[in-house]
């Protein structure tokens, strides 16, 4: 019996050494160590030998089982260790995992900044349609039919009477039709002009319109508000000036210039060596406009202003070709 045990031990050790995968090792385990494996069957055989021998044989057999288990475990961890891929050394310079973050279009960003300034001064934000009628775009704004003032804005028509708005000013009319004074609102949006597309002009661009109607609104107030805006948006050190101009829907009409912030007023290519940049048109709402919306123009006065957004964005970001704004090249968009 002891011989058999020793033979089994030898065979077991041999087979364990030969098993080079976990799978093979498992087969060896099942063969020898499982509930009905060889070692277990040896235990069964104890019953068949002489009673006196049984304790010593049992002892040897127990020793075999324990050492076999130990060998098996050792071999198992040996194989496991060999099979395990090598662990990478910790490298903090590996790139971090992240989810992408997007960007707002630069025009949106400039628009939001302008809106926020006026909103902080108590202006509402209103919108209106891009397809407009001649009435809202021109007539109600005191552009008579057959008047050369209409040439100031080359219009894209859909029919004789229906057109794409050439400015955001028709929203003034729509807001006043809807509300009684006081009205204080800004009106951002797309506008359209029949102009050839070039580095400096586009057939579609953004404007923001402003309107304030109340008792006692004066040109002086207009200046105050717009200067406050310009200082906030362009910087508190800018110089400014207002000069007479002409828009059919305001009178007196004005244009506002600020000192060129690229050259501090010394003169450069951007300000055409004048030291000044025109930033907006404005004026006191014309009585005919109040008449068109049924406001009492003796009781109320008001001012309106409008400015283009693209030019402001070009200046702010140092872009020299306006067309790149709407090419939407992601490499461009990601810069803002």
């Amino acid at each position: 019996m002891l011989d058999i045990i020793e033979k089994t031990r030898e065979e077991f050790l041999n087979e364990v050494q030969q098993a080079d995968t976990l799978q093979k090792l498992e087969q060896v385990r099942i063969k020898y160590l499982a509930r009905n494996g060889i070692i277990a069957s040896l235990f069964d055989k104890i019953k068949t030998i002489d009673v006196a021998e049984r304790p010593s044989v049992g002892k040897v057999l127990n020793e075999l089982r324990q050492s076999a288990l130990k060998v098996y475990e050792e071999r198992k961890s040996q194989i496991e260790k060999a099979a395990k891929p090598r662990e990478l050394p910790f490298d903090i310079t590996l790139p971090g995992r992240y989810k992408p973050i997007g960007t707002k279009h630069p025009i949106t960003q400039v628009m939001e900044e302008i809106k926020d300034i006026f909103i902080s001064m108590g202006f509402s934000v209103e919108t209106g349609p891009e397809i407009e009628s001649d009435y809202y775009n021109f007539e109600a704004l005191n552009f008579p039919a057959e008047h050369p003032a209409r040439d100031m804005q080359d219009t894209i028509f859909i029919t004789d009477k229906i057109l794409l708005r050439t400015h955001t000013s028709p929203v003034q009319i729509r807001v006043m039709e809807k509300r009684k004074p006081p009205v204080r609102a800004i009106m951002p949006g797309w506008v359209y002009r029949n102009e050839a597309v070039s580095a400096r002009s586009l057939a579609a661009f953004h404007q923001i319109e402003g309107l304030y109607v109340d008792k006692g609104v004066t040109f002086s107030e207009l200046k105050g508000t717009l200067v406050a805006f310009a200082r906030q948006f362009y910087g508190s050190s800018i110089k400014y000036r207002f000069r007479p101009s002409f828009f059919p829907f305001t009178e007196p009409s004005a244009e506002m210039d600020i000192s060129c912030y690229l050259c501090s007023g010394k003169g450069c290519r951007v300000c055409k060596f004048s030291g000044w940049l025109e930033i907006l048109g404005a004026g006191m709402v014309h009585p005919n406009v109040f008449k068109a919306v049924g406001y009492d123009y003796e009781k109320y006065t008001g001012y309106a202003f409008g400015m283009g957004i693209e030019r402001t964005a070009l200046l702010r970001y140092g872009i020299d070709d306006i067309r790149i704004l709407y090419e939407n090249d992601v490499r461009f968009l990601k810069q803002f």
Partner: protein, 806 residues
């Protein structure tokens, strides 16, 4: 418009440097776009007198001249054959820039230096007409008038001692489209009255009435027509001063009579026309509208087709001019003209504007007539022209002016309230101050009551019609920059409307979700916009074919953006746009705004990899579940559970795998994949996934106001459950069953695995869910949860033939 400083000075004296004058005019509302000092080109070129001529020792064709300037005598080697002692010449001194190199093909200017010419020192150069860029004559030197003062800048004697201003005049200020008009504004600056031209005419005894007749048939379009006849003129070139003057303001001299009419046009801003009297049949002028389709040859040699709205000047037989726009070839002043009929009329601005637009012909005359000329200066201007023609072309001015002016225009009387001025402008001006401001620009006014002033508006200011117009004049004359800059706080949130709030929040959200915002122009090309099967709105006068229609959807302009990015090698795109789309609702209502539908939409588009290409991210390509996930996440955030998806699993237009989105049970948009054929047509290989939603629908479903829900007091129990179902069963069906059977303890059902495998059987799949159970009033026991799970399994088996995965 070009304005000459010398010319201005005929009417107003001023000593303002061009820079200052420009600034002051700008502050009055006349924008000087640029100015050019013509004499700068001739710096260093002075009047010299030839005092000695000797032969050049080394060259037959050259002479060595001594030319005196104011303070010295210069030795000049000269090659001109016409040089003579005593001549006054244009002497360029070393350092001067010669305007044109006549020996160079390009004629580039060059800098003159002292030089040795064939061994003889030359300290200057006597210039030819060509070298001074005054004409083509390069044969000999230019000889100046003998009265020229030695040492003076030569610019003075060649019509170049002038500053030319380029002024941009706003459409309301027709009165400023002339030298007199600009001079009046300068009068306000320097506080002086302007001097109008003195008109002295020698009329003959013969009365004009015997020689010509004028009949105006359409007095609406032609409220006034004045004319004179001048006999026996001698047509020839204008004198140099007039030619120089016209040239300097960009007008080409033609002949003395035509040049005079142009001179008066630029002087007064009132267009005149000269006819060859002998070619006027019946010596008669009839003013009437044209026949529809009538042909007429204008003096620029072009055949024009007229319509019945066009006002024509005719003689007894035929049309001779398009009123206010251009004369006809048939009665043009020519070298043979002897007798001239001069027209000075006033035409109605809308009429001229329509004609000019219709013919596509804008002239100096039409430009002024359509802005409104001064009806009361027709006689003054025709007299002025007659006087000048008499001076320059001789002839006999017949006695009297034919003047058809049936309804005399009364000057506008405008009442202005001092209080109103101050209320609009924000000043505290007195009556006296206002009167004196208005006086500066020849607006006579007088106080009539404590608060009121009456202004009698002269006819040249036809833009001033009402009180507000006077207020503007007062404001600009007072000075916009003197008006106080102030604000009075009047905070009022009674109508604090924010139309853009949702848009702003969507943008913030999407940027946080890794989308780049694009903005595309609504005007697009018809071909690609029609791909969605829509009929896009066409514009009448497209900027270009590329921008001829209004887009009916944001999808195709976004695809074009994707395409251009792919072209630049940018392959992984997450883009969004918020913009308007346009539809014609009703063909019958094309001329009314009611016929059109304009909607603000939100677009999402995905292309390429789901996550940035970087270590640790999977390189998975986007698929339909990505766009679905983005839409679900966005709508869950804004609309909570006010939305649902409707799965048609079919094609629509250019989409496949289309899912309709409803918010508050109304159609709100869709998401899906662009069909392969369309992508391929547009040369895009990557699959594109898009979503387009109506902003208004999101607005309606927007659960902006939130209410707090008390947090659960008892913990939840989480269980995983895998069920095997038919492979074609939509998981949503099983999910619904779980919810249904799990009531009321089931709080959340999350699918985490879909598995197919041999063990499950051919047509089976396993769906594994993580389910959260919770009771509101106690902590759940395992037994309770086991019971619910059993119920779910049983229910799922009954309804969907599902079995628990073993």
């Amino acid at each position: 418009m070009k304005i000459s400083e010398n010319w201005l000075k005929k009417y107003i004296g001023f000593k303002l440097a061009p820079e200052n004058l420009s600034e002051r005019l700008l502050m009055l509302g006349l924008e000087v776009e640029a100015y050019e000092d013509l004499s700068e080109k001739y710096a260093g070129i002075v009047v010299g007198e030839v005092v000695e001529i000797q032969n050049h020792p080394n060259a037959d064709r050259l002479t060595v001249c001594k030319v005196s300037t104011e303070d010295s005598i210069k030795q000049v080697v000269c090659g001109a054959p016409n040089v003579k002692i005593g001549q006054k010449v244009a002497l360029a001194l070393p350092g001067a820039i010669i305007p044109r190199n006549q020996h160079d093909k390009e004629g580039e200017p060059f800098r003159l230096e002292s030089a040795k010419i064939r061994g003889v020192d030359s300290e200057g150069m006597m210039c030819s007409e060509a070298e001074l860029d005054l004409g083509e004559n390069a044969e000999g030197i230019l000889v100046l008038d003998s009265s020229a003062r030695v040492g003076d800048p030569v610019a003075k004697y060649i019509g170049k001692n002038d500053v030319i201003y380029e002024i941009s005049v706003t459409p309301n200020r027709a009165d400023c489209l002339s030298h007199i008009g600009v001079a009046r504004e300068i009068g306000a600056i320097v506080n002086k009255k302007i001097k109008y031209p003195e008109i002295k005419l020698r009329e003959s005894k013969e009365s004009v009435a015997k020689y010509a007749k004028v009949e105006v048939l359409d007095t609406e379009k032609c409220p006034r027509y004045s004319a004179r006849v001048i006999r026996n003129v001698k047509i020839g070139p204008s004198p140099k001063w007039l030619q120089d003057l016209l040239n300097s303001v960009g007008m080409r001299p033609i002949n003395n009579v035509v040049d005079v009419t142009n001179f008066v046009l630029l002087e007064y801003g009132h267009p005149l026309h000269a006819f060859d009297y002998d070619k006027l049949s019946g010596h008669k002028i009839i003013v009437k509208t044209a026949k529809e389709g009538e042909q007429f040859l204008t003096l620029d040699g072009k055949q024009r087709t007229l319509n019945s709205d066009v006002l024509m000047i005719c003689d007894a037989e035929k049309p001779v001019a398009i009123a206010g726009v251009m004369g006809g070839a048939n009665t043009e002043i020519s070298a043979d003209t002897k007798n001239v009929l001069l027209e000075s009329a006033y035409f109605s601005p809308p009429c001229i504007r329509r004609t000019s637009k219709y013919l596509g012909l804008s002239t100096e005359a039409s430009y002024r007539f359509e802005r409104g000329t001064d009806i009361n200066i027709t006689v003054e201007t025709v007299n002025r022209a007659a006087q000048l023609i008499q001076e320059l072309a001789g002839g006999e001015v017949l006695k009297g002016v034919i003047d058809v002016y049936p309804k005399k225009k009364k000057p506008a009387i405008v009442k202005v309230r001092v209080s109103r001025v101050n209320n609009i402008v924000g000043t505290a001006l007195s009556k006296k101050e206002i009167v004196s401001l208005l006086k500066k620009i020849e607006l006579p006014s007088k106080p009539v009551s404590r608060d009121e002033i009456i202004v009698e508006v002269p006819s040249f200011r036809n833009d001033i019609k009402e009180e507000i117009d006077i207020i503007e004049e007062v404001a600009r004359l007072y000075g916009y920059n003197k008006i106080e800059t102030k604000t009075h706080a009047n905070i009022d949130f009674s109508f604090n409307v924010r139309k853009d709030t949702l848009e702003n929040e969507l943008r913030e959200y999407l940027v946080g979700s890794g989308f780049n915002e694009i903005l595309t122009i609504s005007l697009q090309d018809e071909q690609s916009m029609s791909l969605t099967g829509d009929n896009p709105i066409r514009t009448l006068n497209p900027v270009s074919e590329e921008m001829s229609v209004l887009r009916p959807s944001l999808v195709l302009s976004a695809i074009k953006t994707v395409k251009s990015n792919l072209y630049h090698g940018i392959k992984h795109l997450r883009l969004f746009e918020i913009g308007n789309v346009f539809h014609l609702k009703d063909e019958q209502l094309r001329n009314s705004l009611d016929g059109y539908n304009e909607e603000l939409h939100l677009l999402l588009i995905l292309c390429g990899n789901y996550t940035p290409v970087t270590y640790g991210n999977s390189m998975r390509k986007v698929d339909i579940l990505d766009i679905k996930g983005e839409v679900s996440a966005l709508l869950s955030k804004f609309c909570l559970d006010n939305y649902r998806f409707i799965y048609y699993d079919t094609y629509k237009d250019i989409y496949e795998q289309v899912v309709t989105v409803e918010i508050n049970n109304e159609y709100a948009g869709f998401f899906g994949k662009i069909v392969r054929e369309i992508s391929e047509k547009l040369d895009i290989e990557e699959p594109l996934y898009v979503c387009e939603l109506k902003i208004d629908s999101i607005q309606k479903g927007w659960a902006r106001e939130r209410k707090f829900t008390v947090l659960p007091k008892y913990p939840s129990v989480l269980r995983d459950l895998a069920l095997v179902v038919d492979i074609t069963l939509p998981q949503e069906a099983l999910e619904k069953v779980i919810w249904e059977a799990g009531k009321p303890l089931c709080k959340k059902v999350s699918l985490f695995d879909v598995y197919i495998g041999q063990q499950l059987g051919e047509s089976k799949k396993s769906l594994a869910y993580n389910i959260e159970f919770r009771a509101e009033d106690h902590t759940l026991t395992d037994q309770e949860v086991d019971k619910v799970i059993e119920k779910i399994i049983e229910y799922a088996h009954r309804e969907l033939n599902a079995v628990l995965r073993k």
